[in-house]
C-alpha cells in the first residue's frame, strides 16, 4: 500500500499552503490612456514578512497594488495569491486604500466604516448582527480608537481616520494585507501605533505589502523592500536591497533627499555598505 498523500489540513495556518507565497506578481504591465505606468513588474511577498514598496512619484507603486487586486485592468501579467487566483482566496486578502481617496464627510461613524470589513462575510441582505458589532468594536480597540466608535468620521484627525481604515482591514481577519501609503500624513502617535500593529501582524504569521514613501524609516519598519520605478528595480531583504547604489539608480539624481534622511544611520550608506536594519 502506497503511503497516503499528506492530507489537506484546513487547520494549518497561512504559511503551509504548499510553497506558493501569499502574493506573486508576474510580468505585470498597466497602462493609462496607452501610457505605461508599470512595465513587466514581477515580485513576491513571502509569508510572514513586512514588505515595503518604495520608489519615486509616478513609479507605479499604488498601481501595482490595485492591478494585483484587479481594481484596474492589467495589459499583461497578473497576480496569484498562495498560487491561486484572487477570486478563490478573496477572504484572505485585505486592502487598505489611500486615505485621501474617499470622502470623509460621508454620513457614517467610525464603527460603521469598520463594519464594512465584514460585509463580505455577512452577505448582501443579512443585517449586521451584534456579534459583528462586537468584532468591529474590538478592532477599533486594537488601533486605540475604542472611545471614538460612534463619532462621525469627518470629526476624526487624519491619523485617526487612517487607523479606522486599518481597523476595517483587521476585522476582515485576512492573512495578507495590501496597504496604500498607510503612513501618509499621520501624526507621530499614529505612526507608532501602525508600526506596532504591523509587527503584531507579522508575529501572527500574516504578511503585509505596503506602499511607503519615507525612505529613512524603511529599514526600521520593514523586513523587505521592493524598489519600483516603472518596473521592479530591486527586491529582497532590506539589508541587501536598501543600499546607496541601488537607491541612487532608482531615484536618479534626487539623492539629496536621501543624504539628509539617511545621515546618522550606522554605516554610511554612501560608502556603499548595506544599510543595517535598525531594530
Amino acid at each position: 500500500m502506497p503511503p497516503a498523500p499528506p492530507a489537506a489540513d484546513s487547520s494549518v495556518g497561512p504559511r503551509s499552503d504548499g510553497d506558493a507565497p501569499p502574493l506573486r506578481v508576474s510580468d505585470l504591465t498597466v497602462a493609462y490612456h496607452r501610457k505605461p505606468v508599470l512595465e513587466r513588474a514581477s515580485c513576491t511577498v513571502p509569508a510572514g514578512s513586512l514588505t515595503a514598496i518604495v520608489g519615486p512619484n509616478g513609479a507605479g507603486k499604488s498601481t501595482l497594488l490595485k492591478a494585483a487586486l484587479g481594481l484596474i485592468p492589467a495589459a499583461t501579467g497578473g497576480a496569484t495569491f498562495w498560487g491561486q487566483p484572487l477570486k478563490k482566496v478573496r477572504g484572505r486578502v485585505g486592502y487598505v486604500p489611500q486615505r485621501s481617496e474617499v470622502d470623509w464627510d460621508f454620513p457614517i461613524t467610525a464603527a460603521g466604516v469598520v463594519e464594512m470589513g465584514l460585509y463580505r462575510e455577512i452577505g448582501w441582505l443579512w443585517p449586521v448582527g451584534s456579534s459583528h458589532r462586537a468584532r468591529a468594536a474590538e478592532a477599533l480597540g486594537r488601533v486605540g480608537l475604542a472611545e471614538f466608535a460612534h463619532r462621525q468620521i469627518a470629526r476624526l484627525s487624519g491619523g485617526q481616520q487612517q487607523r479606522v481604515f486599518l481597523a476595517r482591514a483587521l476585522v476582515q481577519g485576512a492573512d495578507l494585507y495590501l496597504m496604500d501609503e498607510p503612513f501618509a500624513g499621520v501624526d507621530a502617535a499614529t505612526e507608532r501605533a501602525i508600526v506596532d500593529l504591523l509587527h503584531e501582524l507579522r508575529d501572527a504569521g500574516k504578511s503585509v505589502l505596503a506602499v511607503h514613501h519615507d525612505l529613512s524609516t524603511v529599514p526600521e519598519y520593514f523586513d523587505r523592500a521592493i524598489l519600483l520605478n516603472k518596473t521592479v528595480r530591486a527586491a529582497g531583504p532590506v539589508d541587501e536591497v536598501f543600499t546607496a547604489e541601488v537607491l541612487k539608480e532608482v531615484y536618479g539624481g534626487r539623492l539629496a533627499v536621501l543624504d539628509s534622511s539617511l545621515s546618522g544611520g550606522s554605516p554610511s550608506p554612501l560608502g556603499g555598505a548595506p544599510l543595517d536594519a535598525v531594530d
Partner: protein
C-alpha cells in the same frame, strides 16, 4: 371642501407623495455618489424618447398620448443619455461637467426639434411640450398613478434592500471591489434607480425640475444627521411631505401648477435645514465660531474635537 377634496385630488396626492418619497431616498445615494446632476441629464435626455414614442403611437394608429409607451420612450432615451455620459467619461478625455453639458444639449435639442414634428402632425392636440417641461400631475388618471406607484415602490424596495452595498459603493468603491462586489453592476443599478425616478418624476414636476426632487430632500436631510439610516428616513419624509404639500396647495389655490409648488416646498425645507440644522446649519456654526473666539480671547482652550487636524 367638497370641490377641493375630489377623488382625483386624492389619487394625485397619493401618486405624488410616493414619487416624492422615492426621489428623496434615491437622491441620498445619487448625492453621496456625486451623481446628482446625472438626474438632470437623464430628465432632459428623455425628451426625444417621448417624442419618438408619441410619433410611433400615432403611426400605429394609437392616440399618441399613450402613457406607458411614452414612459418607455422616456426611459430608453434617458438611459441612452446616461450611457453616453458614462462612455464619454471612460473612453475620452472629456471632463465630466463638459460631458454632461454636451449630452444634455444634444438630446434636448433633438427632442425639441422632434416635438415640432409632433405638434405639426397632431395639430397641437394632446401632449404639449409644456406639460413635459413642467409636469402635468393634475391631469393624471388612476391607471397612470398606479403605474408610477408600482415603479416608485420597486425603486424604493431596491434602495432599501441594497442600502448597505450602495453605501459602500458611494463611500469607497475600491474597497467594495476588493471584497469582490460587482462595482460596475452596482453603479448601473444606481443609474437605473436615477433613471426611474427621473422618468416618473417627469410626470409630477416635469423634466426641468426633476433633478430638484432628487437633490433637495437629500441635501436638506444631511443637515440634520451624520448617519446614513436617519438621512434616508428624513430625505424620504421631506420628499414625500414636499410633494403632498405642493399638490394640496395647488388643489386649493387658483391656477397654481403642482410641479413647481412641489419643488418650492422642498426648497423651503432645504432653507430651514440650511439655517437651523444642528452642527452644520448656519446658526449653529455661527454660534460655535463665536464661542470659540470668546474662549480664545479669554485665553482658555477652545472646545476642540479630539483630533489634531
Amino acid at each position: 371642501m367638497g370641490d377641493f377634496w375630489t377623488y382625483n385630488t386624492r389619487i394625485v396626492l397619493a401618486g405624488a407623495t410616493l414619487l416624492g418619497v422615492t426621489g428623496g431616498v434615491v437622491g441620498v445615494f445619487a448625492l453621496l455618489r456625486k451623481r446628482a446632476l446625472v438626474a438632470d441629464v437623464v430628465g432632459h435626455a428623455a425628451l426625444p424618447g417621448v417624442a419618438i414614442a408619441f410619433l410611433a403611437s400615432l403611426l400605429l394608429g394609437g392616440p399618441g398620448r399613450d402613457e406607458p409607451l411614452l414612459m418607455l420612450g422616456a426611459a430608453v432615451a434617458g438611459t441612452l443619455g446616461a450611457a453616453t455620459l458614462t462612455l464619454l467619461g471612460r473612453f475620452t478625455q472629456v471632463k465630466e461637467d463638459a460631458a454632461m453639458a454636451i449630452v444634455l444639449g444634444v438630446f434636448f435639442g433633438l427632442g425639441a426639434a422632434l416635438f415640432r414634428v409632433v405638434q405639426n402632425a397632431q395639430g397641437g392636440g394632446a401632449a404639449g411640450l409644456n406639460t413635459l417641461l413642467f409636469g402635468k400631475i393634475a391631469l393624471l388618471v388612476r391607471t397612470d398613478v398606479l403605474l408610477f406607484a408600482a415603479l416608485a415602490a420597486a425603486a424604493l424596495a431596491v434602495c432599501v434592500l441594497l442600502r448597505r452595498e450602495l453605501a459602500l459603493l458611494c463611500f469607497d468603491p475600491e474597497f467594495s471591489a476588493s471584497i469582490g462586489r460587482p462595482v460596475l453592476l452596482l453603479d448601473l443599478a444606481l443609474s437605473a434607480l436615477i433613471v426611474s425616478v427621473a422618468v416618473t418624476g417627469m410626470q409630477s414636476v416635469g423634466l426641468i425640475l426633476v433633478v430638484a426632487t432628487l437633490v433637495t430632500p437629500a441635501a436638506a436631510a444631511r443637515f440634520w444627521t451624520d448617519r446614513l439610516g436617519p438621512m434616508l428616513w428624513l430625505s424620504g419624509t421631506i420628499g414625500g411631505l414636499a410633494a403632498a404639500a405642493g399638490v394640496l396647495i395647488s388643489a386649493s389655490g387658483e391656477k397654481l401648477a403642482a410641479g413647481p409648488l412641489i419643488v418650492l416646498c422642498g426648497s423651503a425645507a432645504f432653507g430651514v435645514s440650511l439655517l437651523f440644522g444642528p452642527r452644520r446649519g448656519v446658526v449653529a456654526r455661527t454660534l460655535r465660531e463665536r464661542s470659540v473666539r470668546q474662549a480664545a480671547l479669554k485665553g482658555g482652550s477652545s472646545p476642540a474635537y479630539g483630533g489634531s487636524d
